[in-house]
Amino acid sequence: MQQTFPAEAATDMGNFVLRLYVAGQTPKCMRAFSNLKRICEQYLTNRYQIEMIDLLGNPALARGDQILAVPTLVRRMPEPVKKIIGDLSNTQRVLAGLDLSIEIA
């Protein structure tokens, strides 16, 4: 299962290419997705792309991004690559993890 949100790919400079790794539709993973969606809508309107990867369907992909913890959010763009693990329930820390706190302040 790979899904991309929003459908229109946003790959221009300054856009955020995010990957959310989950393992099945567990409450933790669903929570992480809705938290992420909410944060992106609020702080990155039209500047983001989320790709969700379910490791249960694509176990081999876990190696590439060095995924151990689930859920893990990977900021692939802009570089450098950043990772945020957990259900993304603390918005401030998610923003800090995405290097967005400064932009907002």
Partner: protein
């Protein structure tokens, strides 16, 4: 933890997974507990990774059990190189699908933690690796690294507990390595989770002498050797030297070997030493111990037998030069590959390392005679008790392999002192003492057989000379022969 249930009964009950590591399977009565986890702990550089990977590679190569190596170490890339230098073909095994390596890295600087998570990602990776190879063995080296990469120790502990249970449910034989902690077996207390078997590795350097030791701290449901066993890492990989508790069940040969001196053979019931027996030649400095040794060496090589000669005091060239002066030329035997000198300063290694080197050389060279010249040199690196314990192991090993052991011992001081060698001599089948007496302002060389188990031997002191044709007795060797089995 010793159990009273008979050894055999337990061994049958508990399936084992052989490590293929020389000596370790002996100590553990067959290997690690099959389908369970074994914890291997020790300090940095103690050989944990090598033990674990050897277990894995041997499984894939020799026991038809594919394996997965999950390395959490930052320098995991160097692994293939390190292992390859020991003669393992890692890429080949990977290509054949018998081995799978997953490098797990956590870069703390790029990770932020927020909210709940679990380690399902790791489980997915392991499961994928295990399935794709049909793995029966897995190594996690060193999973404790997770503690420095992730903040939430509670989640980590719960997940590790789940992981070990999961591995057990899969029936996969696991080796988990861990750093030794202060006052605990492992830094993160992993022994609490992995409790089927625990192996402790130790690397000590005392007075610049390095010694590696291995101990099976725990082995649930199985009998195991509880001693500390020396082990060695060399070009053959890792090998453990068990104290062979062979008792006295080894085969006793009735075949006789000439001492190389006809008259001495005469003193030894007319035929010489028993094959596979142990011979001690003791005496003060300059009494002719090495000459007697050279005779025996020469005689063995003449029969086409291989002789391994451990030399602690002088160089092989010096020894050969000296022996040429009594008419013995050992050089041809070296050229023919029948004689091998292993010359080493005793202080270059600890006792255990000397022991290990002896095992290895005997194993590789497959001699029928092994000479240690002189045993007493080893006293500079260990106490008399240690040397005796070590010697016992050497002798056990030689006897099991029917190798004749020939040892020289330097008696300190001017006078013979039977007490000095007393500790060692009880391990010897034949004991020959050389002395120099001053009689009428002349030095008189004397030889006598103090004991020789299982044969009639001369109980007389015989005078001898060192001539340019070797050692010559000046009296009739047959005199004073008495039948004795004593020792």
């Amino acid at each position: 933890m010793q159990h009273t249930i008979p050894n055999d009964a337990i061994s049958r009950a508990l399936p084992k997974s052989p490590t293929g590591i020389q000596g370790l399977d002996e100590i553990t009565n067959g290997g690690l507990p099959k389908g369970r986890a074994t914890l291997v702990c020790g300090g940095a550089g103690s050989g944990k990774t090598l033990l674990a990977t050897s277990f894995l590679i041997n499984g894939a190569q020799h026991f038809g059990e594919p394996g997965v190596l999950v390395t959490f170490e930052e320098n995991g890339d160097e692994l293939a190189g390190d292992v390859a230098s020991l003669g393992f073909d890692l890429p080949g095994l990977i290509e054949q699908g018998k081995l799978f390596i997953d490098y797990v890295r956590i870069d703390r600087s790029e990770i932020e933690e927020t909210g709940e998570y679990d380690l399902e990602g790791l489980f997915v990776r392991l499961d994928h690796a295990i399935r794709s190879t049909g793995a029966r063995r897995i190594v996690l080296d060193t999973i404790e690294s997770l503690f420095s990469g992730l903040d939430n120790a509670n989640i980590l502990r719960a997940e590790l507990r789940r992981l070990f249970r999961w591995l057990k449910d899969k029936g996969i034989t696991a080796v988990i390595t861990a750093e030794r902690g202060e006052g605990t077996l492992t830094r993160q207390g992993l022994e609490e989770y992995v409790s089927d078997a625990v192996i402790l590795l130790d690397h000590r350097v005392t007075e610049q002498v390095s010694t590696r030791r291995l101990r099976v701290v725990k082995y649930r449901g199985s009998h195991h050797g509880t001693n500390e066993y020396p082990f060695l890492i060399d070009r053959h990989g890792l090998s453990v030297l068990p104290v062979t508790s062979l008792g006295l069940t080894h085969h006793a040969s009735t075949e006789r070997l000439s001492s190389g001196v006809r008259e001495l053979d005469g003193m030894l019931g007319g035929q010489g030493y028993f094959r596979g027996s142990t011979v001690l030649v003791s005496g003060t400095a300059g009494t002719g111990k090495t000459s007697l040794t050279a005779h025996f060496t020469d005689a063995a090589c003449r029969r086409g037998e291989r002789v391994l000669y451990f030399l602690f005091e002088e160089s092989p060239l010096q020894l050969m030069r000296n022996m040429r002066s009594i008419g013995i030329d050992l050089k041809p035997w070296i050229d023919k590959g029948l004689l091998h000198f292993q010359a080493e300063r005793p202080s270059n290694a600890g006792l255990e390392s000397h022991l290990a080197l002896m095992y290895q050389n005997v194993r590789d060279f497959k001699p029928s005679v092994t000479i240690v010249d002189a045993l007493t040199n080893l006293l500079t690196v260990g106490t008399a008790n240690d040397v005796r314990a070590m010697l016992m192991r050497v002798i056990d090993y030689l006897k099991v392999n029917e190798v004749t052991g020939f040892f020289t011992s330097l008696t300190p001081g001017k006078f013979e002192s039977e007490e000095t060698e007393a500790g060692v001599s009880s391990l010897m089948d034949t004991w020959i003492v050389l002395t120099i007496q001053e009689v009428d302002r002349q030095r008189r060389r004397e030889i006598r057989v103090l004991k020789s188990r299982g044969m009639a031997h001369s109980n007389r002191v015989h005078e001898f000379e060192l001539t340019d044709h070797g050692l010559r007795l000046l009296s009739d060797p047959g005199r004073g022969i008495r039948a004795t089995g004593g020792g």
